[in-house]
């Protein structure tokens, strides 16, 4: 699932033993991330066995879905070797515009989700244009777009949390259950994930994203339409962030001013913990899934254990650092 194209000279591409092939297919980073999930669950189960109950795990996967959708967009942008710091207010724009559309009446209710996502895509296109055509560092462009999105929402809502509530469709997606008690949010994340894996591994778009992340100049010289791909990647990320906001608004049945703030750093952390290189060009979606689940479980277990809030922040930071030190290190100069 979603491995980066392997270099052609890697050993064993003729009659490579099955074991060797399996070893090559398993990214040590992803294996470590799943290993850490097991450790977190094990430590949690020592505290209380209810951490292993299907209800608890399903509930956690549901909560993880929101971060998962947002992290999917972040991952695509990170694969390009860029970063999207506009997540906080694009999430809020998605939630607020969707709830605002719901307030317009029956037509608005039907259009709530497309309106929210569309606004996110529009902001993502601005990000993409700044990076692809103005050649500005993504860190700055997305920061500025975040400020503009915040300004737009302050004007739109008058500085208060909007009074409109979310549409039935939004609530259905975020809180409902359809099949066998599986939360709809989890199904939504699954669909988003399958589409992302397909895009990244089976399409020209995905190949070009990896190529740009490895060396943009080479991708351009090979005839890839790098600017269009960068634009599309940022638009996709904007749309997914806003969709995350739509789901969150459905979950809480309302949108709020700072609803996106707690998602920026966890999204980056989830992508990086899943073995995606922050420099771009390397990483797989399975890793991001592991990262998202790990971060969600960590946050949940620390709060269920009633650790003081400061302890939660410290543990959270230390665990991320420790995991990255185990498998996320760069190469020394001498290599």
């Amino acid at each position: 699932m979603g491995d980066a194209p392997l270099p052609a000279n890697s050993s064993g591409n003729t009659f490579g033993s099955v074991a060797g092939r399996v070893r090559r297919r398993i990214d040590p980073a992803i294996a470590s991330a799943f290993g850490c999930i097991m450790v977190v669950l094990f430590v949690g189960s020592l505290y209380s066995t209810s951490f292993l109950s299907p209800e608890y795990l399903l509930q956690q996967l549901k909560v993880a879905s929101f971060l998962g959708v947002i992290a999917t967009g972040m991952m695509i942008v990170i694969l390009l070797g860029q970063i999207d710091l506009s997540v906080p207010w694009v999430v809020a724009v998605g939630g607020m515009m969707a709830t605002a559309a719901t307030g317009w009446g029956p037509i608005g209710q039907a259009l709530a989700i497309p309106v929210g996502v569309g606004c996110g895509v529009a902001l993502g296109l601005v990000n993409g244009a700044g990076v692809a055509f103005l050649r500005l560092p993504s860190m700055v462009v997305t920061l500025a777009v975040n400020a503009v999105a915040q300004g737009l929402m302050v004007v739109h809502t008058g500085g208060f949390s909007p009074q409109d509530s979310s549409s039935p469709a939004m609530r259905f997606l975020a809180t409902g259950h359809t099949l066998l008690g599986i939360p709809n949010a989890l199904l939504v994340w699954t669909v988003v994930g399958i589409v992302a894996v397909f895009l990244l591994t089976r399409t020209t778009f995905g190949r070009t994203v990896y190529a740009i992340g490895n060396r943009e100049r080479a991708a351009y010289l090979s005839g890839a339409r790098t600017r269009l791909v960068v634009m599309a990647a940022f638009a996709l990320a904007g749309g997914l962030s806003a969709f995350g906001g739509v789901l969150l608004a459905g979950y809480a049945s309302k949108a709020a001013q700072a609803m996106g703030d707690p998602y920026l750093l966890p999204a980056i952390a989830a992508v990086v913990l899943g073995g995606t290189s922050i420099l771009g060009g390397r990483g797989s979606y399975l890793g991001t899934v592991a990262g998202v689940i790990l971060i969600t479980l960590l946050q949940s277990i620390l709060s269920v254990m009633q650790m003081e809030e400061f302890g939660r922040h410290v543990t959270y930071g230390v665990v991320i650092l420790a995991m990255l030190l185990i498998y996320g290190r760069g190469r020394p100069h001498s290599e």
Binding site: I83, L85, G130, L134, R135, L136, P137, M139, V140, V141, L143, A144, V145, N146, A147, V148, A149, Q150, G151, L152, V154, V155, G158, G159, E216, R217, Y220, L221, T226, A258, D261, L265, I268, A269, V272, I278, L279, E308, E309, F310, G311, R312, H313, V314, T315, Y316, G317, V318, I320, L321, L324, L325, G328, R329, G330, R331, P332, H333
Partner: protein
């Protein structure tokens, strides 16, 4: 000598542009302020501006080595919470408290540096994680806002010298003279610029890469803690506010960019970043004197930010070969 001049101009273009833009904006601000330029108006503006300017200086040191410090705001908040607890009491206790705050700030920066250098992690993810740890420490010190600071020190730093000059500007000048200029002129400072321009080339030339990065990160933490101390002097209390921390981190990046420091590293100066920070603050004040509806202020601030960073793309006009776009 003309060669020297044009070289000097080119080297300091970003700093000079930021300086000029700030002067123009501040002049417009003062000309339209109902009370005109008096010591109180200047002091209020200076206190707000200097706080961001110090954080921007801290950010610059790391950005010059082509890193980024997303924990500066959290170090500032940590220093704020610590200062509100220990910078009180007798003059000796206060002085010890100040030293303690600076030590903790330097330590936080040094930890960032050590992880980046020896852990070989990317600065952006390292400082995200350490930022969470520093914020946790701040929360442990001050679960609820409160505390106090020595009033003499606070008044001295936020008041006026000789009834006219804002003391905060003197503090900023002192930091430039004591921290920035010696760093810039030392071999370590040059090494930091070299690392930012091309780490591989610097390594091949035997530049002390590790020492340069370590000093840059440590000084950055130290400056961030001075900002936290100053924040305590302005607010007379400590608050472990995550919003405050991340706002200052993001604003410091904006100020650094407005000040002409390249986010790719190796070019720019902390003095540029200072004017970038002062400019950023003046934008907010300008909207206030022109009676822009408070609701519209964040939007205008965002648009100005977009316009300012878009100026960075002017360099594209000078590119002759399309391939140069994809360095």
């Amino acid at each position: 000598m003309t060669g020297d001049w044009s070289y000097w101009l080119r080297e300091h273009r970003g700093t000079l542009l930021a300086f000029a833009a700030f002067i123009v904006m501040f002049t417009i601000y003062v000309a339209n302020h109902p009370a005109g330029l008096n010591a109180n108006v200047a002091t209020t503006a200076a206190n707000k501006g200097v706080l961001l300017a110090i954080v921007a200086m801290a950010q610059t040191l790391v950005v010059l080595t082509s890193g980024i410090d997303l924990s500066v705001g959290m170090v500032m908040v940590l220093a704020n919470c610590l200062a509100s607890s220990i910078v009180v009491g007798s003059p000796a206790m206060t002085a010890l408290g100040v030293l303690g705050v600076l030590f903790v700030g330097g330590l936080a920066g040094a930890i960032n540096g050590l992880i980046v250098i020896y852990g070989r992690l990317q600065p952006i993810v390292t400082t995200i994680a350490t930022g969470a740890v520093y914020y946790g420490a701040a929360l442990a010190l001050r679960p609820v806002p409160g505390g106090d600071i020595d009033a003499t020190l606070a008044d001295a730093l936020t008041g006026q010298l000789w009834g006219a000059v804002p003391a905060s500007l003197a503090l900023l000048l002192a930091l430039v003279v004591i921290v920035w200029l010696p760093f810039r002129r030392s071999a370590i400072g040059r090494a930091a610029y070299a690392v930012g321009s091309s780490e591989v080339a610097a390594y091949m030339s035997g530049v002390p890469i590790r020492r340069a990065k370590f000093v840059a990160y440590t000084l950055s933490g130290l400056l961030a803690s001075i900002a936290g101390l100053f924040l305590t002097c302005v607010t007379y209390s400590g608050e472990a506010s995550a919003a405050n921390g991340s706002t200052y981190t993001l604003y410091s990046i904006a100020a650094v960019v407005l000040g002409g420091v390249s986010l790719f590293g190796g070019s720019g100066s902390a003095i540029g970043a200072i004017f970038g920070a002062l400019m950023f603050r003046t934008i907010g004040d300008l909207l206030f004197v022109f009676n822009v509806e408070p609701l519209w202020q964040p939007l205008f601030q965002g648009i100005v930010l977009v316009a300012a960073v878009s100026l960075g793309s002017v360099r594209l006009l000078r590119i002759r070969n399309r391939l140069d776009l994809y360095g």
